[in-house]
């Protein structure tokens, strides 16, 4: 097989800079072969090599007593849960594939993150999906939205993991470059935690799962460039998902690990066979030799380059001792899986690739990986001019153009706030019979059978805030995701993150990214939630150069020590008093209100005081621990008014109204009334309790120095806001049916 000659031009076409190509030449002491060039290009791509992010990411707080694995070392973060169990979780993007082929792009995104979880020996427990699209009024957006949701459902439902939460936002900035971030959570017995560190010279490299095809070649490189007019031509770069194969893989993988047959294992995700073999060998300080003629192939005449770079789905790579191979074979055959021994672990620190007796690549594995030869760049962040332009807004600059009632009706009907039940009902969210709090509220809650404990999981990010104030926006994403789990009664313990940004060589983007990292770091330190790992997705830009909002999505894990103490967001009984924890400031900048009513994206967004945030969360957790809260909800998009309506209708079958204490509104001008209802000030929780418990609740709050406001009482069948009221039945209809009406074309 003759390979093309490698030139600087060819290296550029592989996304490598001239300097990087020079570095490759000096590492090898010669010009790379075509196959080697392909291997370097994917391993040094942004997607695998994190070259523009790793130095900043290393500044994040990554230690904590509850962390059981070093971040980045294993496929996913590992958090201590109980004597017996640990929780494994991670989030990853599949943005570009979903932009060109929404169904398969989203489906394979789910498949990829699930493999990361069971490669750790953990059984996937739950998925969450954080999605962003253009305006829902746009026909192409509706096509992407339907396709992505269907793809997620297709994969997760068949695989058999509940999809329990996530978010969906619609913003102009994501029109051509939607964001599809999939998070998975798994449960592993601590003594069965699998490793991705290769060990044992001479051990077998065992390939398991689907045969290798030409699909997905250069997927990692595709993910590392901007979308363009030609991205449609990348469609062959999008892989096809087979959740049934994945289901067989999870069972066989877990059974092999359970039986102690596995030295180490990694899934073949981005950069396929290349990254899985190289990363395992590098972590173990060893080498690996592969004979590609042994790799199961589903197409004729595949070249070594193609086999090494294929991103065909549903494939795993195991390191197995020769003496245990027969037993492993038995498991794999029982599950009707294809497998092949394709190589061995060596002690020479080299990746050696052979095919039909000829050597196609010999590269020191260390030269290919993050922390080894893979380049790492850091630049001085430069303050972007646009921030001054978009941040001049003050509440003095507006007068309410419509009544508060009209504004509220418009908000609860808007796609960003209205119920996403159209999405969630397409996901099986109850399979595995663990889901205690279903999707739609602040965080999903799952019980862990046999422990009496549970977990709460949430994803969060307000991209608009991050665009207007990258540091604050990222800090708020952490704070809000923590608050989301806190209001269920769970203690936030750790995060995973998916950092969606534009081209890192664009100075504005690089500034946004570095500020976001700083914001996440500060918030995680303040809240005691270390970063267990995650994923960076750069180059989220359209063909015309529109950059997505900087969107650092935070996946938060919380733990409930007593699952029976979980709290939901819906009002429970008439007569309960409603209390607002935290302070409402005139913070309307960056709000859903400004965007929805005035079509304006003006900053500054709300501020966040991390010490106050921590105090509110700690105070509420103590109240929850005393079983005093009958319901609780985070105040976020749309402000207090939206939060109260949601609490009244979250339990769709048993809705309850409320009446606001009219005295609160004394002296409010019309504008102040709007600010009170729609401000998006942070660090606020609405909770209810029995009237007789109010003094105890207030006692706890005063100990934490948390301000509170008695808002009113749960009662009746209308939401009485003092100066107007809306019937609960109207709110139910608008909140639950708006998205479907837009999709059916009944509404614009």
């Amino acid at each position: 097989m003759r390979e093309p000659a490698v030139t600087v031009k060819l290296a550029r076409e592989h996304g490598l800079s001239d300097e990087e190509f020079g570095k490759i030449n000096s590492i090898l002491g010669r010009t790379p072969t075509y196959t080697e060039l392909g291997i370097f290009s994917v391993m040094w791509s942004e997607h695998c090599g994190y070259k523009n992010s790793i130095l900043l990411i290393r500044t994040l707080p990554r230690t904590g007593e509850s962390l059981l694995a070093e971040p980045g070392k294993e496929n996913a973060g590992v958090v201590d849960f109980s004597d017996e169990y640990a929780i494994v979780f991670k989030i990853e993007s599949h943005n570009h594939p979903s932009a060109v082929e929404p169904f398969q792009g989203a489906a394979t995104g789910v498949g990829g993150i699930l493999r990361d979880i069971f490669a750790m020996g953990a059984r996937p427990l739950a998925c969450l999906d954080s999605l962003r699209f253009g305006p829902l009024s746009d026909e192409h957006t509706r096509y992407l939205f339907r396709g992505v949701v269907e793809g997620i459902g297709f994969y997760g439902n068949c695989f058999g993991v509940p999809t329990v939460g996530g978010e969906v936002y619609f913003e102009e900035a994501y029109r051509d470059n939607p964001l599809v971030n999939a998070m998975a959570v798994g449960l592993v017995r601590k003594d069965k935690l699998a490793s991705s560190v290769a060990a044992g010279v001479g051990n077998l490299v065992l390939y398991v799962g689907a045969a290798t095809g030409r699909d997905g070649i250069h997927g990692a490189t595709f993910a590392s460039e901007e979308l363009s007019e030609k991205s449609g031509e990348r469609r062959p770069s999008v892989q096809i998902g087979d959740p049934f194969m994945e289901k067989l893989l999870v069972e066989a993988t877990l059974e092999m690990i359970e039986k102690g047959l596995v030295v180490s294992v990694q899934d073949m995700g981005a950069a396929g066979l290349t990254s899985s073999s190289v990363e395992m060998a590098a972590k173990g300080g060893l080498g690996v030799e592969l004979d590609l003629s042994l790799v199961p192939q589903r197409e004729e005449g595949m070249t070594p380059y193609e086999i090494m770079l294929s991103e065909s789905q549903e494939r795993m790579l195991f390191i197995v001792e020769e003496g245990k191979f027969d037993e492993a074979k038995e498991v794999l055959e029982r599950w009707d899986l294809h497998y092949a021994v394709v190589g061995r672990v060596t002690d020479d620190g080299m990746l050696t690739v052979r095919m039909n007796g000829r050597v196609y690549a010999t590269i020191p594995v260390d030269a290919l990986v993050v922390g080894g030869g893979c380049p790492a760049y850091e630049r001085e962040p430069v303050y972007p001019k646009y921030l001054d332009r978009v941040n001049g807004f003050t509440p003095d600059d507006f007068l309410p153009a419509i009544s508060a009632e009209e504004a509220l009706v418009q908000l609860i009907s808007s796609p960003n706030i209205a119920s996403k039940s159209w999405v969630f009902r397409q996901y099986d969210h109850q399979i595995m019979s663990n889901t205690v709090v279903l999707p739609g509220g602040d965080a999903a809650v799952l019980r862990i059978k046999g422990t009496g404990k549970g977990i709460a999981v949430s994803t969060d990010c307000n991209g608009r805030y991050s665009y207007l104030a990258p540091y604050t926006g990222a800090a708020i994403a952490v704070a809000e995701s923590a608050r989301n789990v806190v209001v269920t009664g769970a203690k936030p313990v750790a995060i995973t993150n998916c950092l969606n940004f534009g081209d890192p060589y664009n100075p504005d983007v690089y500034y946004q990214f570095s500020e976001a990292i700083r914001g996440i770091g500060d918030a995680c330190r303040a809240l005691g939630t270390p970063v267990t790992g995650g994923n960076v997705s750069f180059y989220n830009e359209s063909a015309t150069g529109t950059v997505v909002y900087p969107t650092p999505v935070i996946g938060m894990l919380g733990i409930l020590d007593d699952i029976a103490s979980f709290i939901t967001a819906s009002f429970k009984q008439e007569g309960d008093v409603i209390l607002l924890l935290g302070e409402t400031l005139p913070e309307i900048g960056g709000s859903e209100y400004l965007k929805e009513i005035y079509q304006a994206v003006w900053g500054p967004p709300p501020s966040v005081d991390l010490a106050k945030e921590k105090a509110v969360q700690d105070a509420f957790l103590e109240i929850a621990g005393l079983r005093l809260a009958t319901s609780a909800h985070d105040v976020s998009d749309g402000g207090l008014a939206v939060a109260l309506v949601e609490m009244g209708i979250f339990d769709r079958e048993n809705p309850l109204g409320f009446v606001l204490n009219a005295s609160i509104l004394n002296g409010f001008s019309e504008k102040e009334y709007h600010l009170f209802l729609f401000s998006e000030s942070q660090s606020r929780i609405v909770m209810t309790c029995r009237e007789e418990h109010l003094s105890k609740v207030k006692e706890v709050l005063s100990r934490y120095d948390v301000k509170s406001l008695l808002l009113g009482k749960v009662c009746g069948d209308k939401f009485d806001f003092g100066r107007f009221s809306i019937p609960v039945s109207d709110a139910l209809d608008l909140y639950y049916n708006s998205i479907e009406r837009i999709l059916k074309g009944e509404w614009k």
Binding site: D242, I431, L438
Partner: protein, 229 residues
């Protein structure tokens, strides 16, 4: 009482059924691999939900020719109890052990939500613990749960009173709005003439504990267990 939960490749409610049957209802339960040709000494075989063999052809179409289904046919013919839930129901209709077919939901999309079903008979081993007219709140999660039968067959199903559960509203009224998937006559579950095979689309195993929001489905497992006490 003893029960076995069949595990097809692609079954994904097998563990949930095991949990509800064994850990919650207290029925001695084992797993049964799809490649087996014999049924161990059990009283009840559960065909769980999922996507058996991927269901890429048609739901239940491949499972019906699997080795274990031959054994289940014999087991049922000799009076053994069979409970098919969701994909299990689809396999039972594909196998001809129950009449009718389950076609795509009227909405053409997957539906995961709570529904209400009304108990139509309590003179069966599956429902002896309920009263006729009881309204149960159970989750559904399926793409193909729309029960269809040709007019003659539907008449026969009704005449022989084979309908065990119908979708209804919270008060037990059978309405168009309370039928989630377009099933004929709002059929959610049917039994065979001998009364020992039940197929149903809603998931009783997901509604067997209060912490999960409903324990209305536990009565099915308890009915079965009491019958063998």
């Amino acid at each position: 009482m003893k029960a076995a939960v069949v595990v097809f490749p692609g079954s994904n409610c097998d563990r949930d059924c095991y949990w509800a049957s064994h850990n919650i209802a207290g029925i001695d339960t084992v797993f049964l691999w799809h490649k087996e040709r014999y049924i161990p000494p059990v009283d009840l075989v559960i065909l769980p939900g999922g996507f058996s063999y991927g269901d890429y052809l048609r739901a239940g179409a491949i499972a019906r020719v699997s080795p274990i289904m031959g054994a289940i046919r014999d087991f049922a013919a000799s009076g053994g109890l069979v409970l098919g839930i969701c994909n299990g129901f689809q396999i039972l209709t594909e196998s001809g052990l129950l009449p009718g077919v389950l076609v795509r939901n009227k909405s053409l999309s997957f539906l995961c939500q709570y529904v209400y079903i009304r108990v139509e008979r309590n003179d069966t081993p599956f429902t002896r613990g309920y009263n006729v007219g009881d309204v149960l709140r159970l989750p559904i999660a399926h793409n193909e749960g729309n029960f269809f039968a040709p007019p003659d067959m539907l008449d026969e199903i009704e005449r022989k009173k084979l309908v065990l559960f119908r979708y209804c509203d919270s008060n037990g009224n059978i309405t168009e709005e309370s039928n989630p998937n377009g099933s004929m006559n709002s059929i959610a579950g049917i039994i065979n003439e001998n009364g020992n095979i039940l197929g149903m689309m809603p998931h009783p195993e997901r509604a067997s504990e209060l912490i999960l929001g409903s324990r209305d489905g536990l009565g099915i497992f308890e009915s079965l267990k009491e019958g063998y006490a």
